[in-house]
């Protein structure tokens, strides 16, 4: 029933979904890893990235679409990263409070972000398809796979490599990992924790914004997208292990492969199967596949 071209299509589609999940969850994970805060507003940063990118695409729509597809997400990510720095400033009030306060606080941020974005960009789904279409399609059998999806897969690989290089091979990355594993000891070794927090938020928000910006040609920016995206990212992060970028990567791949299989067999169970998988992983490994015990 499923011939080779369909199989290829499904595999590429699965990688595409895994890319979406990773792009969204990476920033959430980086911030949790270092600050031990579950930033529920991460979905808002994602959506903000989508909206900002939409505006940038419109503003520069006369430029080459392929060029835009690379530059606009970087710029949008940077802008959202700066917003993230501002966010970090307000987050300081809850660093020392119990987790329920942190969750309430970041949930409040979701509502504030949603209102502000509604005031600026309205409620209609906004999307910039010209970029999506500029990439064209690749024929697979009698199907056509959109090449922009391949571009998103490539961006994700690049983001993954960048994160790996940054965390494992740079001085700042080493410091960030040190703060993630032993916060107090790091300060006793001369590390300015506050600055590391700012850098972390910059990176986390940048990744969220970049994710939103890269996807806006496919997924419209629309009220409610913040929460929907957050749920998927959260599942991936919990499966992979909170605070582990590698976990987010593997979690995204596993989740997506599972989703594709479910979609072939029982399409109604799409989201349900993801939750079920999350519960199953948590039963076997309460800290996720790559999470470290506290």
């Amino acid at each position: 029933m499923i011939d080779l071209s369909f199989a290829t299509y499904y595999i590429l589609g699965s990688l595409f979904f895994a890319s979406l999940v990773f792009l969204i969850s990476a920033g959430l994970n980086v911030i949790f890893g270092v600050l031990r805060i579950i930033n529920l507003a991460h979905g808002s940063l994602y959506l903000l990235g989508s909206y900002v990118a939409y505006s940038l695409f419109i503003a520069f729509s006369s430029l080459d679409r392929i060029l835009l597809s690379v530059t606009v997400p970087l710029l949008a990510g940077l802008i959202v990263g700066l917003v993230g720095i501002g966010l970090e400033y307000f987050m300081r009030t809850v660093y020392r409070l119990p987790i329920d306060y942190q969750l309430l606080f970041t949930f409040g941020l979701i509502l504030i972000f949603a209102d502000v974005m509604r005031m600026i960009w309205g409620v209609n789904p906004l999307t910039f398809g010209a970029v999506y279409f500029a990439y064209g399609t690749a024929p697979i059998g009698n199907l056509f796979f959109p090449l922009y999806n391949i571009f998103i897969i490539a961006v994700t690989l690049f983001v993954g490599l960048f994160l790996w290089y940054f965390l494992q091979r740079t001085r700042l990355g080493s410091v960030v990992r040190a703060v993630a594993s032993e916060r107090e000891m790091s300060s006793a070794l001369g590390i300015d924790i506050k600055r590391v927090f700012i850098v972390t938020f910059l990176i986390g928000a940048f990744l969220g914004g970049l994710g939103g910006a890269v996807t806006v040609p496919v997924l419209p920016a629309s009220p409610g997208a913040d929460i929907n995206i957050l749920i998927i990212a959260f599942v991936a992060v919990v499966v992979g292990g909170l605070g582990s970028v590698k976990g987010a990567f593997v979690g995204a791949l596993l989740l997506s492969a599972l989703r594709t299989i479910i979609l072939i067999v029982f399409p109604e169970l799409e989201l349900f199967s993801l939750y079920l998988f999350m519960v199953a992983v948590l039963l076997v490994r309460p800290y996720g596949l790559f999470g470290a015990k506290e």
Partner: protein, 469 residues
């Protein structure tokens, strides 16, 4: 049947309009008031309004009641955030516009309307019930207007009879709303049952030899009921039609549509029925266009809520779609009141009721027109300001003329109006798709709306094309 029907429809509409002096929406309101038998016991002087051009006479009623001098409080609810906002927000604006115009023209029987809200329900049942309970118990509202999602709508309909408030939803298409007899709920919007029947008729028109059908929909009451009505109707008319694929995804939950698109294409159905709305539709169409889906699959969109804001990337050329009223413009001359309404909306809010929300704005606007008309009708009967159940009684059988055309409120509180189905296309000079005037079909209400008191599921299952009288 198409060309003939269309001419017939326009003729009917024209006849309705002929009696009206069209001079802007205010003029329309004023002139529609002229038609009303008016009865008020008020004598106080008023500030100069459009309405003062109308002579009010007090007819001798048995027990004249005084009209309260306080404004009439009307609660407005709608999803203003979350995935329902693209419909809820313009919907609320359509309601506010109606209130402003009615107040400018002197209110209802001289009584101003005061909107409490709009209150955000996020389209969720619990939030919606919270909102209406607060509106009734704390604000003293006995009339509440709005709500988009079927999930929230079912909960509000229950609350309306329990708490005793008149409720008119903004959308809420599920036929389940009227599976229970409702005292206070009036829906001036088509049901999924009617939409599904219309879709089946349209499917047979564009593909008379249809043998296989498929669907992709959001997995909740609206998607399920719409599909059930479509499938049952088409199978009643052509028993050999087979379902080859059914795909469901959670409301607002579509991200990567490629697996769904692949499955639908692999199933090779003659027609795919779909009633996806909101951002999910953007996601699906965006990804389906380059995949070649629309080139190989005949896709029937049964949820045409608006098209401006769409373009070739989110709305394919030549897509067949259906709507509960002829809201299409340009050409504007199809239904002038709709034109006036849209122009008034743009004047008031600086931009059109874009894309998904155009119909919601018209629905909410019509709700207020109907409310005004029902209160005035009831007042004429009872001789003074009516109680809420008297207003509800007055609603039944009422004909309402508004941006949606001429609609009738039936004894079971459902709306009865013609459906408009069409092929959409792009023309130069208009950035969004419009209806191809050569391919418009209207189905009269008798063909598509289950009669009062008949269970919709039974009706569609035994559907027959009846002679239209």
């Amino acid at each position: 049947m198409s060309a003939k029907d269309r001419r017939g429809f326009i003729k009917t509409v024209a006849a309705g309009v002929a009696g009206l002096a069209i001079g802007g929406i205010g003029g329309f309101l004023a002139s529609s008031m002229n038609q009303q038998p008016t009865t008020t016991a008020r004598t106080e002087t008023r500030t100069v309004t459009l309405r003062e051009t109308i002579t009010q006479t007090v007819t001798g009623a048995a027990s004249p009641r005084t009209t309260p001098t306080t404004p009439l409080k009307v609660g407005v609810i709608n999803p203003l955030s979350g995935g329902g906002a693209p419909l809820g927000d313009p919907g609320a604006k359509g309601g506010l516009l109606a209130v402003e115009l009615i107040n400018q023209a002197g209110g209802i029987l001289g009584r101003r309307i005061e909107v409490v809200g709009p209150i955000d329900t996020v389209g969720l049942p619990d939030r919606a019930v919270d909102a209406v309970t607060r509106l009734v118990q704390q604000e003293g509202c006995r009339i509440i207007i709005g709500e988009v999602t079927s999930a929230a709508g079912l909960a509000i309909a229950d609350a309306a009879d329990r708490l005793g408030f008149l409720w008119m939803p903004c959308e809420v298409w599920t036929p389940r709303v009227f599976e229970t007899r409702r005292k206070f709920t009036f829906r001036l919007s088509w049901s999924d049952a009617a939409a599904g029947v219309g879709a089946a008729l349209m499917a047979l028109r564009i593909k008379p030899d249809v043998r296989t059908i498929a669907t992709i929909n959001q997995d909740y009451a609206h998607g399920r009921d719409n599909w059930e009505s479509f499938r049952s109707t088409i199978q009643a008319l052509k028993p050999d039609v087979r379902v080859v694929e059914e795909l469901w995804f959670p409301l607002y939950g579509l991200t990567d549509a490629t697996p769904f698109i692949t499955r639908l294409m692999a199933a090779r159905p003659d027609i795919v029925q779909s009633t996806i709305w909101g951002s999910d539709r953007f996601v699906f169409y965006r990804q389906a266009v380059p995949a070649g889906y629309f080139r190989t699959v005949l896709h029937l969109d049964t949820c045409l809520t608006g098209m401006d804001g769409h373009n070739r990337e989110t709305w394919p050329d030549g897509l067949y779609a259906g709507s509960q009223y002829n809201r299409f413009y340009p050409p504007w001359d199809l239904w002038p009141i709709n034109k006036e309404f849209n122009e008034a909306f743009i004047r008031r809010f600086g931009q059109p009721a874009f894309a998904e929300g155009a119909q919601s704005a018209a629905n909410m606007f019509t709700n207020f027109l109907a409310l005004k008309q029902a209160i005035e009708k009831a007042a004429a009967t009872v001789g003074g300001w009516p109680e809420i159940d008297e207003v509800a009684q007055a609603m039944v059988g009422m004909r309402v003329i508004g941006p949606k055309g001429i609609i009738t409120i039936r004894e079971d509180h459902e709306f009865e109006g013609p459906q408009v189905w069409a092929r959409t296309k792009y023309v130069s000079g208009v950035p969004y798709p419009i209806v191809d005037p050569n391919e418009v079909v209207t189905f009269p209400a008798e063909l598509t709306v289950p009669p009062p008191g008949v269970a919709w599921r039974e009706w569609v299952r035994n559907y027959k094309i009846r002679a239209i009288t």
